[in-house]
């Protein structure tokens, strides 16, 4: 019996159906439970501590995120796929890999934030509470296999993010960031809800697996199904800032506090992709002639437009904003061919998951360097990066590594991500796939230009203001940098590491095809 059917029956006739309390698998829910507890503790601690002890909030939320990682690991060791609430909430390897990604990304964000938020004129406790809540929404999203659960997860991760984006409330750019992100996000939610209502109306269920059966059957052929699929995916197109739904991203990224920019460009984007993967592979898999061309166009447009605009940026955060738009295009590319065959679907999901993992490390690392450097230069302009090598050689080398990793130069992690994308796209075969592969190839060259340009500035330009005093990097940022660079380099040399996670994630497809 499907979930909404039960619910409506309960509402309709008072005591006709005896209520049976659902069996709760506490182990499966443990990561989320830990996060909720962390959020509550952080709130309470913040309310009852003096101003000088506010650092506790940061430490506690960091520990909480790491603590939530423990049940994720035990669940992974256990290895069983657990399905709760009539299939609305599933803990499988895909979900666990993504949960681990969100938790670690959240932890790195907190490391990046500690000094930034502590030194600025900001509310501290609320900040960490909101970060933890947003991560909670993301972990929920990783398991959500039901339209309503997906929507709740999306709002849970987005609403704190809207607030965080506007955290620099005394500055106009900060207000602009929050406002734009909020308005566009709400608009996207509305579009998505409309699509969901069409899909629900046609299938009579909100559970993705059930929708998948219907979409593969007679309902899938109706125009309403196509309309619903397009609207839902467009909604998530906003979330992952795919062109032409990207225009909130640069202003938001520039105005938001830099750690939040890193968080949005990595974790929030990954959450959008997780939802897209679940929708495409579980619910809409039968209609690849609807989402395939759409993803093709989105991918090609996203990477091309993102890259071309990135070429002209003079502000480093905006540069990374557009570069992350372009990277989203690379991640979308395998989805365009995912419906080709089960083998290609496997490859596509492997490519997307590995790309997300590696991209997270590279981009967070780059933002960590940006944060560390801007602590000294107090500027986001590209010119202020001139001659960084002369006074901060370590940071320069790290940033160079992250830049070339993002550009996909081996042996740093990024190449494996790009390679997986190529493998998935070319594995599908056919003219449109080959054209897409060439578009990806040409775009990776365009991206090289601005990455290499920033690298050149750091190494060879003279210091603009002649101030060669060294950059003092706080311990938290050092730790974040170490984590990111270790992962980036390790995956470059031992791609099997990430490949393993990518393989694990393919069980999402297995579920989709088993029906």
């Amino acid at each position: 019996m499907s979930f909404p059917a039960t619910a409506s029956a309960v509402l309709a006739v008072g005591d006709a159906v005896p209520f049976r309390s659902p069996a709760l698998d506490w182990h499966a829910l443990a990561p989320e439970a830990v996060l909720v507890a962390t959020a509550v503790v952080v709130l309470l601690v913040d309310l009852f501590t003096a101003e000088r002890n506010k650092w506790l909030a940061s430490t506690l939320s960091g520990l909480g995120l790491l603590g939530a990682l423990v049940p994720v690991i035990t669940l992974a060791v256990d290895g069983n796929t657990r399905s709760l609430f009539g299939g609305a909430y599933v803990v499988d390897d895909f979900a666990l890999v993504m949960k681990a990604l969100f938790l670690v990304a959240g932890y790195v964000t907190i490391l990046l934030s500690t000094d930034y938020i502590g030194e600025g004129d900001y509310w501290e406790g609320e900040y960490y509470l909101l970060v933890v809540s947003s991560v909670l929404g993301m972990t929920l999203m990783a398991s959500a296999r039901d339209l309503i659960t997906i929507f709740v997860a999306l709002e849970l991760l987005s609403i704190p993010a809207y607030l965080l984006a506007g955290w620099r409330k005394r500055e106009l750019t900060g207000n602009e960031a929050g406002m734009k992100y909020y308005l566009m996000g709400v608009f996207a939610s509305a579009v998505m809800l409309y699509g969901m209502s069409l899909v629900y109306g046609g299938t009579g269920t909100t559970v993705l697996a059930g929708i998948g059966r219907q979409v593969a059957g007679s309902f899938g052929a109706t125009p309403v199904a196509a309309l619903g699929i397009v609207f839902v995916l467009v909604g998530f197109g906003f979330k992952v800032s795919a062109v032409p739904f990207h225009n909130w991203a640069p202003d938001t990224y520039e105005g938001a506090p830099t750690p939040i920019t890193a968080f949005l460009s990595v974790a929030s984007k990954a959450a959008g992709f997780v939802a897209i993967l679940q929708l495409i592979f579980v619910a809409f898999y039968g209609r690849d002639e609807v989402y395939g061309p759409m993803m093709w166009v989105l991918a090609a447009l996203t990477m091309t437009v993102g890259n071309l605009i990135a070429l002209r940026q003079t502000n480093v955060v905006r540069l990374f904003a557009y570069s992350s738009v372009a990277q989203a295009g690379f991640i979308l590319a395998p989805l365009a061919v995912a419906g080709d065959s089960p083998a290609v679907a496997d490859d596509a999901i492997r490519a997307v998951v590995s790309y997300l993992l590696i991209y997270t490390a590279m981009n967070l690392g780059a933002f960590a360097v940006i944060l560390a450097v801007s602590r000294k230069t107090r500027s986001g302009e590209l010119d202020s990066w001139g001659g960084l090598f002369e006074y901060a050689p370590g940071l320069t080398v790290l940033m160079t590594a992250f830049l070339f990793a993002l550009a996909g130069i081996p042996p740093l992690g990024g190449w494996f991500a790009k390679f997986q994308v190529f493998k998935a796209v070319l594995g599908a075969g056919g003219a449109s796939a080959y054209i897409l592969a060439v578009v990806v190839a040409v775009n990776s060259v365009i991206a090289l230009y601005y990455y290499a340009n920033l690298a050149r500035l750091m190494w060879f330009q003279s210091v603009p203001d002649g101030d060669r005093s060294p950059v003092r990097v706080p311990a938290a940022i050092n730790l974040a940098l170490a984590l990111c660079v270790a992962f980036t380099v390790a995956t470059g040399f031992f791609p099997g590491l990430v490949g393993h996670f990518g393989d694990a994630a393919t069980d999402l497809v297995a579920v989709a095809l088993r029906r």
Binding site: I409, P411, A441, S444, A455, R456, F460, G496, G499
Partner: protein, 534 residues
């Protein structure tokens, strides 16, 4: 000899010691070691880097010593799984085609390092240079499509930094142009190589593999028409790297603006990545497509020979002149490669080495002139022979080698190329031979303007070659003379591999080598005007 002989992994093994791996790893370790030296001690960073470069050179020479002549297949093969799921392995091996390129790389790097030290920031300069060396040697040794690509890409970054950090006035533009051109090519190669592996797996019904030897021996797995497209994807990357005629425009800028050591390596080693790629990933991997596209590539090669020579004649800048002469020389190598004859290929491989030595030496000499006079304009230099007779003498030898004077190394290579291409592409060879004449025109004319005549007061104080500079030039000059007088030991090692490669092309396409060419040694002594042709 058949393709099976080519694929056989026999020959000498280095008795358990991973010689080839150490050739790749040692410079990379050296780069790291150099980077860790304190930046207040530039001398010690230079010392560390030189020690590593020399040690690598010794290792490459050890490879040459361990190399067994008369073997066609890959020798000293080392293989370790890298990425299990994709069957990507750390698969290294050397054959007659690559062995001299490895030695050339090993020898040129320390010479470039000693002959043209940087003016500032010694430490990063040397670290980048060593990383570049690791990548170059890796390209020549890789027997895995994937590993090859990785090495091919690694090479880009250090060279970009070398040009943009230590180059001349217009370095930023040149470095970016170099970087983007090459990266553009390799993007196509990445698409091509992934598609090759995927289609191969689909064609054979087996598992995905990136192993070069496996894919190259299963020639039936990929449909010929598809293989042609794949060949083109690879060819774009290699044509840019060589560079062949329409995509050569990055070369003059990059070579002119690069620091001397960078130019030496760029011309001496990095251009060979493209021509070597054509041999290994063109002829070997896609024999049918190579035969199909040979007329196109031979034509591009000949255009390059003439175009490079004509443009070189017009240059006012000495370094730019040498840069354009590279375009012409590399055109010869392309002509020889796609003549698809044993002689032509032998000449190409030899000429790759020769060009590395001669043009490397020319760039070193131009660098020395620039150090003294701070100009590269031919019009501002005059009568240097009076002031520096020894340098003029060395310049003469190197220049004559570049022209292809009999008795010096350039002649042997060019002669074999012309001989080989005459057998299958007579008119192309005839037109290409004009390039030899033009080469003597632009080089001799340049020599005349720079070294002859009475020096004016600016040039009168031109310093003679120093001992250190002489020691750097000596091995190069010795090699020039040795290879010109007695190329046999080199050719003997190249020949079996080249013959097997031509046989491989014959096996898998409707191309047959003209009989006169297959007679090997005897044909070489025969006059080219004899019975031959298409």
């Amino acid at each position: 000899m058949t393709a099976a002989a080519l694929a056989s992994e026999g020959g000498a093994s280095a008795g358990g010691f991973p010689l080839l791996t150490s050739c790749v790893v040692l410079p990379a370790v050296g780069a790291l070691a150099t980077a860790l030296v304190s930046r207040r001690r530039p001398e010690s960073s230079r010392l560390v880097a030189t020690i590593f470069a020399v040690a690598t050179a010794a290792l490459t020479v050890a490879v040459l010593v361990a190399f067994e002549s008369g073997e066609a297949g890959f020798q000293m093969v080392e293989r370790a799984t890298w990425i299990r799921d994709l069957d990507v392995s750390w698969h290294l091996g050397v054959d007659g085609i690559s062995v001299f390129l490895v030695v050339l790389t090993g020898v040129l790097f320390p010479l470039a390092m000693l002959g043209a030290p940087p003016h500032h920031d010694d430490k990063p300069f040397h670290a980048w240079l060593l990383l570049l060396e690791a990548g170059c040697i890796g390209v020549f040794l890789a027997l895995d499509l994937f590993l090859f690509f990785v090495m091919f890409e690694i090479v880009l970054v250090p060279m970009y930094f070398l040009i943009s950090g230590w180059g001349y006035a217009n370095r930023r533009y040149a470095a970016m142009k170099f970087f983007l051109y090459t990266a553009f090519g390799s993007a196509f190669m990445l698409v091509g190589l992934v598609a090759t592996a995927v289609l191969h797996a689909r064609g054979t019904g087996g598992d995905l593999t990136f192993d070069l030897v496996t894919i190259a021996s299963d020639q039936g797995a990929i449909a010929p028409v598809t293989a042609r497209w794949l060949f083109l994807a690879f060819a774009i990357a290699f044509a840019i790297k060589v560079p062949l005629f329409p995509v050569h425009t990055w070369l003059p800028d990059a070579h002119t603006e690069a620091p001397t050591a960078g130019s030496v390596i760029l011309a001496g080693v990095m251009l060979k990545l493209g021509t070597y790629g054509f041999l290994r990933f063109g002829l070997y991997l896609f024999p049918e497509a190579s035969a199909y596209f040979a007329p196109l590539l031979v034509t591009l090669g000949v255009i390059g020979i003439l175009y490079g020579a004509v443009v070189a004649t017009m240059q006012k800048d000495l370094k730019r002149l040498v840069a354009y002469s590279s375009v012409a020389h590399l055109g010869f190598i392309a002509l020889g490669t796609f003549s698809l004859t044993t002689q032509g290929l032998q000449g190409s491989v030899l000429q790759m080495v020769n060009h590395g030595i001669s043009t490397g030496a020319l760039f070193l000499l131009v660098g020395m002139i620039y150090e003294r006079r701070h100009t590269r304009q031919i019009a501002e230099l005059r009568g240097l022979q009076k002031a520096a007779p020894v340098m003029a003498g060395v310049f003469t030898v190197v220049m004559l080698s570049s022209i292809g004077l009999p008795g010096l190394n350039g002649f042997v290579g060019e002669f074999l190329i012309l001989l080989g291409s005459f057998l299958t592409r007579r008119w192309w060879a005839v037109v290409g031979a004009i390039g030899v004449i033009l080469a003597s025109l632009y080089l001799l004319w340049a020599y005349q303007r720079v070294f002859h005549g009475e020096p004016d007061e600016a040039n009168a104080g031109f310093a003679e070659m120093r001992v250190r500079e002489g020691l750097v030039m000596a091995p190069l000059v010795a090699l020039i003379v040795f290879l010109g007088v007695y190329p046999k030991p080199v050719l003997d090692r190249i020949q079996p591999s080249v013959e097997a490669l031509v046989a491989h092309v014959e096996d898998h396409s409707d191309y047959t080598e003209p009989p006169v060419a297959t007679e090997g040694q005897r044909a070489r002594s025969a006059a080219p005007a004899e019975e031959g042709g298409d």
